[in-house]
Structure formats: structure tokens, C-alpha cells
């Protein structure tokens, strides 16, 4: 049955592509966890908030229009101009940096040295807050996000594979772009952390907070920086997913897709996030393809977690996570 083989290959290839999209979300988690030991549950909401802000800037929406209208009885909606995409992206980045600064200033600063679970809870509180804040700021309707990313079936791949195998493979062009962007992002992050002053400081902080402090690295600055970078990663993830499904509340739920990726790859490893994403993406597509029909389908939600769980039983720190050394 060569046809079945092609189908399986196609499913696997698409799974890999989807995996990259998961990895993009997971990257944001890893960055923050590495630098500050915080499991940032708000990462998904960050992506949503970034995407909403981007669309808002693009369309020239007036922030808090609804609130203003409710209080003052006005009917404001739009500034009446559209911002070019590049400028809008830059503005959104500025907003994300500001957000990182405020988070450090108002939340993290006060929670230094708390247990990880408390910090985790604080990020959940932050997620709630941002969810409400984003809706008040930009409205709860579904927005179309168009930053000029291509979408739909890639004819080139379809034709090439058709002439090779007699079966045209389906690859989404958006996925290809996402894969390229993710690769660039990882390379950029690697270069940044290896070859720049701040990158080195970042690695020092990740290694040992106290030692880093003692050689004069400002912990607070590093935290702002890393949250800002995570905000930027969230913006990229939000752009990819937002193009796929429109900017709406459910965008924040992609965080749940990134968690098994994190478990599998390890909370502290950037390559781990990528490899984990690829394994999860491919695994769930192949499982749905082969076993799904036997058990009634729609297995993606839990399969990723089960796969990660099985992996963890053998490697409790994930594939690339730092080995857990315990002392009494």
C-alpha cells in the first residue's frame, strides 16, 4: 500500500510544521523559565494581547473606546487612519516592552524569593488581568489579522511531489513561513545569548542568580529584558496563529498546546522546545492518522500530554532539561 505510506508521510510532514507553531509558543515559556524560574502561564494571553494590539494599531482603533463611550456617552471607534504593518509591529513591540517593564515593576519585584508555585499563581493572576484588559482595550470581537503572510496550499510542493511520487503533498504556505521564522528566531536568540554582553549576562543569571548579582549584573534589568523578549516571541506566535484563526479569545488557549512541548523538551532548553514541538506535532498527527479512526478521533488534545507523560517517566527532566540533582 504505497498510498498509505504517502498519506502517513504527508501527515508527518504537516505534523512537523504544526509542531513548529507549538514550539514558537513554547519558546516564550522557556526564555522566562530559564532566566527567572517562573513558569509564566500568561504566555498564551501575551500572544493574544500582542495580536490584538497589532490589529488595533493596524486598523487605527481607539483603545478603550468602549470604556470611554460607556463613561462619557460618546461614540468613538476609530482614529480614521490605518497604520502600515511594519510600523504597527514596531509599535506593538514597544507596547510589549512597556508591559514587561510594568510586570517587573508591579509584580515580580515584590515576589522575589517566593516559592515557584506562588510565582506561577501570580502569572495566572496576570493572565486573568490581561484577558480583561485586552478586551476592554480593543473589544471582544473576532478580528482579521493580515500582515501579508501567505496562506493556503503550496502549489510548488504539490506539483513537485506529484511529479515525483504521483501524489501531491499538502503543505500550508503559512507553516513554511512559520518554520523559517522560528528557525531565524532560534538562531537570533542563540547569537544574542552567546555573543552580546546582555546575552552573557542573561546566561549568567540563568546559571546562578546570586553569583550573577555579586558580579554586578542587574537582576531586575535582565528580568525586564527577558520578559520583553518573551513578549516579542509572543507577538510572533500571535501573528502566526492569528493569521490562521483570526484574533480572538481562543488564541490564548494555544498555551495549552505548548505545555506538553515544554515537558518533553525540558523547561530550560531552547533547542528542547523546538525538538519537543516537532515530536509532539508529528506524534499527534500520526496517532490521529493511524489510531484515531479506531477510537473515534479527536485525540489531539490528550495525546500530546500522554506522549509527554510517557517520555517523562523515563526522563523526568525532559529531553534536554538540566539534570535534576537533589541533595539532602
Amino acid at each position: 500500500m504505497p498510498e498509505q505510506v504517502f498519506f502517513a508521510l504527508e501527515a508527518a510532514a504537516n505534523g512537523l510544521m504544526t509542531g513548529v507553531l507549538y514550539a514558537l509558543v513554547a519558546l516564550g515559556f522557556v526564555l522566562i523559565f530559564k532566566a527567572s524560574g517562573i513558569f509564566n502561564f500568561a504566555q498564551g494571553v501575551f500572544a493574544l494581547f500582542a495580536a490584538m494590539t497589532l490589529v488595533g494599531f493596524q486598523n487605527g482603533q481607539i483603545p478603550f473606546a468602549h470604556l470611554i463611550n460607556a463613561i462619557f456617552g460618546t461614540s468613538l471607534h476609530h482614529f480614521g487612519w490605518n497604520m502600515p504593518t511594519v510600523l504597527a509591529i514596531l509599535c506593538t513591540m514597544a507596547v510589549m516592552v512597556l508591559l514587561a517593564f510594568l510586570v517587573e515593576r508591579w509584580v515580580l519585584k515584590h515576589l522575589v524569593n517566593q516559592e515557584p508555585i506562588i510565582l506561577f499563581m501570580a502569572t495566572i493572576g496576570l493572565a486573568y488581568f490581561l484577558e480583561g484588559f485586552g478586551d476592554v482595550m480593543w473589544g471582544a470581537d473576532i478580528k482579521k489579522l493580515d500582515v501579508g503572510l501567505p496562506q493556503g496550499m503550496s502549489s510548488a510542493i504539490d506539483e513537485a511531489t506529484y511529479s515525483l511520487f504521483g501524489y501531491g503533498f499538502f503543505i500550508d504556505r503559512l507553516d513554511v513561513v512559520a518554520a523559517v521564522v522560528a528557525a531565524m528566531l532560534v538562531v537570533a536568540l542563540m547569537l544574542f545569548s552567546q555573543f552580546t554582553k546582555y546575552g552573557r549576562a542573561l546566561r549568567a543569571v540563568a546559571d546562578d542568580h546570586q553569583a550573577a548579582l555579586s558580579v554586578g549584573i542587574s537582576l531586575r534589568f535582565i528580568w525586564v529584558m527577558v520578559w520583553a523578549i518573551a513578549g516579542f516571541v509572543a507577538l510572533v506566535a500571535g501573528m502566526m496563529w492569528g493569521t490562521k484563526m483570526g484574533v480572538q479569545f481562543s488564541l490564548s488557549l494555544i498555551a495549552l498546546k505548548a505545555l506538553p512541548v515544554l515537558m518533553l523538551g525540558g523547561f530550560t532548553s531552547i533547542p528542547g522546545a523546538i525538538v519537543g514541538g516537532l515530536i509532539i506535532g508529528m506524534g499527534e498527527q500520526l496517532f490521529e492518522f493511524s489510531v484515531g479512526p479506531l477510537v473515534g478521533g479527536a485525540t489531539q488534545n490528550w495525546f500530546a500530554y500522554m506522549l509527554a507523560l510517557v517520555f517523562l517517566v523515563f526522563r523526568p527532566q525532559g529531553l534536554f532539561g538540566e539534570k535534576i540533582i537533589e541533595r539532602v
Binding site: M121, Y128, F129
Partner: protein, 358 residues
């Protein structure tokens, strides 16, 4: 002036080891019981029962269950929603298969079934720790929901895939089904809350509880001094799931009456329980109540103030409500990372010295 030990002499070990060793505290406890048993049942109406008190009691049970696991045994779990679903579906199957069985027995049995499932999903905790475990318990959450949605046997192959609680009575009074009076719903939940709180309190200060806390504080050290981690972790999962199963069972049969698994027991439910435990205070029974009260009462209160009191548009109120709750969680954590229970302890200390603080 209040909460003072002075003059309160204990003449036996039994007295010394009681739950509320301070006379004033004991009095307060009996007072709360008296109000719960003697006053609320006469004042309760449909709105109070269905919107406020019954969900509060049920979430208290769930929070106590999760607190055993997280606060006492130190194992983070995000599978509460899934385990509640197990309790609910066990109840439904038992109710429809054995129509003559008393509902109290059914609820307890559902608790036991959930405990079994909990132990099964607790097994990985022997290898996996911390956040990895938290995420691993999500596997239970998603898998169980999918299973109940997929396998027709669990919902008796009904066309809609929903489960409905038929009417069941205790002492001739309906406690489930639409015709049950609010005070009966209240009493059945209160009964389980009291039993669960009593059990939890006594378990946690016995040898089992000590072994949990030893594991929580440092599992390797605990192992060295002779605590069996397998036994301690699995009993924690079992007891915790037992309580959560009871909560799920009541949630379905008494509170909602009709349930669709994905909607009623989704991951948000896991988070509500988690919030309740952390805001209330890890490792505190009182904290579980306080946390549940915060998570259930506060949104209703806020909504009533903003929408009915200030006449805001409902959507704006709902968004602001999210912001306020999120903000308050952060503020609480900053001010008192150990939760409302720690706040309560501080108040008690202050009251003890009042009015002469030196």
C-alpha cells in the same frame, strides 16, 4: 483578650490534642456550626442556594481535596476537573444502574471510584516532580474528558451525550432533581462538607499527614528517615481524589443536575480549585474554605455591585471583573503569599494580645 490560653487548663492528653485547643476558638467554631445548622436553612432561597451557598460548599470540598495533595503532600495537580468528572459520571452510572441505592452511599462510592482513578494517575508522581508533574496531571484532565465524551456507555448512550440526575431522596425528601427544596440541597452538601473537613483535619495531624508533610518538605530526606514515598504519595493522591470525587458527584447531582463533560469539567475547573487552594493558603483546612469563598462569592458579589449597583453594561462589568480578580490575586500574593489562612493567623495573634499589644 480573645484567643487566650491563659486560664484554660488541660488536665488530660486528650484535651491537649483536640482540634481547637483554645476555648474561645472552640466557642467560635460551635457558633459557626450553629449558624450553619440552625440559621441558614431557614433563610435560604433558590438564589442563595444555587448561586452562592451550594457551589461554595462543593468547591470547599474540592479545595480541601486538592489542598491535601498540594498543601500537605506537595504534589501539584492540574487534573481536578477531570477527577471531578470521574465522580460525576460514577454517580450517574450508579444512580441509573441501582435506582434504589441511597444517594449518600452513591456519593461515597463515587468518591472511592475517583480515588482509584486518582491513584492510577498518581503513579507518575513517583518519578516526576514539580511543574513537570503539574503538566503531567493535565494528561489526566484531557484524557478523562475525552473518554467520557467518547464512550457512550458512560452516558447511557443518550442522544445528546448529556447526563441528567434523576430525583433521589434522603429520608423522603428530594435532594437531587429540579423539585428538591434549596434547604435540602444545602443540608446534603453541608453534611459532606462537615464529614470531609473532619476527616481531613484528623488525617493531616495523624501519622499519615505527617508522612505527607515530610514528603512535601523534602522527599529524599523523608525517605532516608523511613517514610515510604510510594505509600505517602499514593495515599495522598487517593485521599485527595476521594474528596474531589465527592465534590464532583455533588456538583453534578445536587448543584447542576444536568452536565456535559467538556463544558462542566473543563480545565477551568482545575484552575478554580487551584486558585482556591493557593489564595486560601496551602496546608490549611480553613484556607480551603476561605479560598473557595473567594473564588465563588467574590465574582457574584462584584457582578452584583457593578451591574446592579452601578448599572454598568454587563460586558464591561465582566471585563473589569476579570481585571479585578486577576489584580486581586496578584495583590494577595504580594501582601500575603501564604494565603488568607496566614492572614487569619495574624489576626488571631493580634487579637490575642489586644488591647495590650506589649
Amino acid at each position: 483578650m480573645f484567643y487566650r490560653e491563659a486560664g484554660d487548663f488541660k488536665t488530660s492528653y486528650r484535651d491537649d490534642a483536640q482540634t481547637f485547643p483554645i476555648a474561645f476558638d472552640r466557642l467560635r467554631y460551635y457558633l459557626v456550626l450553629a449558624v450553619a445548622l440552625g440559621v441558614i436553612p431557614f433563610m435560604i432561597n433558590d438564589y442563595w442556594a444555587n448561586a452562592v451557598i451550594v457551589p461554595f460548599l462543593i468547591w470547599s470540598i474540592a479545595a480541601i481535596g486538592l489542598n491535601i495533595l498540594m498543601g500537605y503532600a506537595g504534589q501539584v495537580s492540574l487534573g481536578t476537573g477531570g477527577f471531578m468528572a470521574v465522580g460525576a459520571y460514577a454517580t450517574f452510572k450508579l444512580m441509573t444502574s441501582f435506582p434504589d441505592l441511597n444517594i449518600v452511599i452513591i456519593v461515597v462510592l463515587s468518591g472511592f471510584i475517583t480515588a482509584g482513578v486518582g491513584v492510577l494517575f498518581g503513579l507518575p508522581s513517583l518519578r516526576i516532580k514539580g511543574f513537570y508533574l503539574a503538566v503531567a496531571t493535565l494528561a489526566a484532565q484531557f484524557f478523562l474528558i475525552w473518554l467520557f465524551n467518547r464512550v457512550g456507555w458512560f452516558y447511557n448512550y443518550s442522544a445528546s451525550g448529556q447526563i441528567n440526575a434523576p430525583e433521589r431522596t434522603v429520608l423522603g425528601i428530594a435532594v437531587t432533581g429540579p423539585a428538591s427544596p434549596p434547604w435540602a440541597q444545602y443540608f446534603i452538601c453541608l453534611f459532606f462538607v462537615l464529614v470531609v473537613a473532619w476527616m481531613a483535619r484528623n488525617l493531616t495531624r495523624g501519622s499519615v499527614g505527617r508522612s505527607w508533610m515530610a514528603i512535601r518538605d523534602m522527599d529524599i530526606a523523608a525517605e532516608i528517615i523511613g517514610v515510604n514515598p510510594l505509600k505517602a504519595k499514593l495515599t495522598a493522591f487517593a485521599v485527595s481524589s476521594f474528596f474531589i470525587g465527592i465534590a464532583g458527584s455533588l456538583f453534578f447531582s445536587v448543584y447542576l443536575g444536568a452536565v456535559e463533560v467538556g463544558e462542566a469539567f473543563g480545565i477551568e475547573k482545575s484552575f478554580i480549585a487551584l486558585f482556591a487552594v493557593i489564595i486560601g493558603g496551602l496546608g490549611s483546612i480553613f484556607g480551603s474554605f476561605a479560598g473557595a469563598a473567594f473564588m465563588v462569592l467574590f465574582p457574584v458579589l462584584l457582578k452584583n455591585i457593578l451591574v446592579n449597583g452601578l448599572n454598568w453594561p454587563t460586558d464591561l462589568a465582566a471585563h473589569i471583573q476579570l481585571m479585578v480578580i486577576g489584580g486581586l490575586i496578584i495583590v494577595f500574593l504580594i501582601l500575603e503569599p501564604h494565603g488568607l489562612a496566614a492572614l487569619w493567623r495574624v489576626i488571631k495573634e493580634k487579637l490575642r494580645l489586644w488591647p495590650f499589644p506589649h
